[in-house]
Amino acid sequence: MATPRTLLTVDDVRVEFSTRRGKALVLNGVSFEARAGETLCIVGESGCGKSMTALTVLGLVPQPPGRVSGGRVLFGDEDLLQASPERLRAVRGNRISMIFQEPMTSLNPVFTVGEQIAESLRLHAGLDRKAAHLRAVEMLRQVGIPAPERRVDEYPHQLSGGMRQRVMIAMALACRPDILIADEPTTALDVTVQAQIFDLLRELQAERGTAIVLITHDMGAVAEMADRVIVMYAGRVIEQGTAAEVLGRPQHPYTQGLIACLPELGSSQHGERRELAEIAGVVPSLWELGSGCAFRERCPSAHARCAEDVPPMFDAPLPGQPGHAAACWLLAEAAVAKAEEAAA
């Protein structure tokens, strides 16, 4: 199979926030690609910058106090960071859509769900009121809402959480976007409903070749949805690769820790109850990063070099896995050896 078409390239993006405590680098050189028909998962804990990455792509960073201080977001040949507000409005909700975490607060309570879906169709696709209404009904049917002819005229409070998230998805997909960014779309939902939403996203992707960027902290969801993964920590990408590689053979001590500390289903069937592995300490605040690797205080393998320089991305020392890389000095030696071998 040929490599899927790259739809979005995020290249070395930096975002800083000015606060009373000084400048905080919320995103510090974030790079990734979203490809047609693929799902990219962005994983990390609160405050690692995963949601801010999504907001940056859509030009929604609150400025001030925020400021995009570097990098490019290429959509086709166009750098969205340089685009005018009018141009961004034409792209947002049309070519690039977003699903937010909280379906209750992201829907407008005083308009029917049909009106809210139809709005983007009238704006972007130029449909008239009647045609947009019919498309809205069709969209609700596609996302699996029963009796869409009736539901289309209901208000958000009349729907359950799962139904509201389906409405959000219908809104996001109404204009058939090339890229769908979903920020923790199922965190507020029950697992059986989450399963339905994931099925729906997969089906729509298979049908239309949409590139999905899924932001999550749930490693199980990553295993189920992702083709490729980036792991973020304190505003940087610290590991990237295919989902199978990153989850199966994590290279960064942080990624290893995140996977090891999860309670897994089936634990009761393997003898004695064990303590869960822990990652000691807490995420450092963005003002206290200083030099060196941001994870070093919590890292079981930290050594002198980790305090001096920020590690760049090194290829994983695994045979034949291009694209799997992690920002950790432990990989430096192996990477040098591999490069020498290649040169020899």
């Binding site: 029950d190 199980g220 199978a244 309670p263 009761s268």
Partner: protein, 355 residues
Amino acid sequence: MTNLIPFPHMPAPAEPPPPVLLSVTDLKVHFPRPRSGLMARPEVVRAVDGVNFEVRRGTTLAVVGESGSGKTTTALAVMRLAPITAGSVRLGLTDLSLLGDEAMRQARRRVQMIFQDPYSSLNPRQRVGDAVRAPLDLMGIGTKAERAARVDELFAAVGLRPEQQHLFPHQFSGGQRQRINIARALATNPELVVCDEPVSALDIAIRAQILNLLARLQRELGLTYLFISHDMAVVEHICDEIAVMYLGQIVERAPRQAFFARPLHPYSAALMSAVPTVQGGRTRAAQRIRLVGDPPSPIDPPAGCRFAGRCPAAGPGCEAPQVLREMQPGHWVACHRVTRVDGQPVGPLQMPAAA
């Protein structure tokens, strides 16, 4: 209780099982709703509708279920923080549902609660040391010096430094705040601790720290937990027994190992199969038991099996009310389609192969 078939999770038969600490019998919590019209029938939300369970001293019973299943209302009713419509909640020999206000206030020494949200459950203007001491002050336990010593002891027990007592909640991370909440819950030396989704609001790296802390405190202090959660992996890790709730009723109750080896109720099987796992990935997702629709309203629940409308295995007989039947010692299930084959109980829906 007869103990003919030894259970792998239980201690050797020579040791009698620990005595029951909490015993909930036919608990109902109904909330009346205002009439929707002059001629309309008054409506009642049946949040908890006939629930029975026991928790043995020093063990953990996990109550799982999805939003609206009544698991949190059950926990609140045990704490007498939700009005009990019918039934009894017995702690040891005391029936909490019959106590008057002052007697209940005194009984709260013995039952304490850890809430889900570590942010809203602490007063932002109260120093955290004072928050942890508050239950002792309110109950009039010990002298001032004894209370201060107890707070020091509690801070050490949950892994905080004593000088941190003078700080305010906003100076702590979510995980540290949950440690403070745990310290406060333990202040009066309770026998039963009701944990309502205690790790759901925490980052995954912090969850493991708090789960390990709860397990250690249980071992050291002999605590009994009623653990409310929707996260099956967390529950499997921490519980001794599990009860699955659906629309106000328990549909399955079993010891940990028996349940997770073979959930019998179709809803339990569907719930388990919906959990995404790192090992299972897409293979597991593809084999998942698919549910359609949403749970029915607790205002006018179906007369028969409450899950039948969404159940892939529903058939004749499901329109009759379902009662819990004991299919194996300690393993109860409310589904008439669960049968016994070669002495082993078999549910109508099979879980996808374990990943």
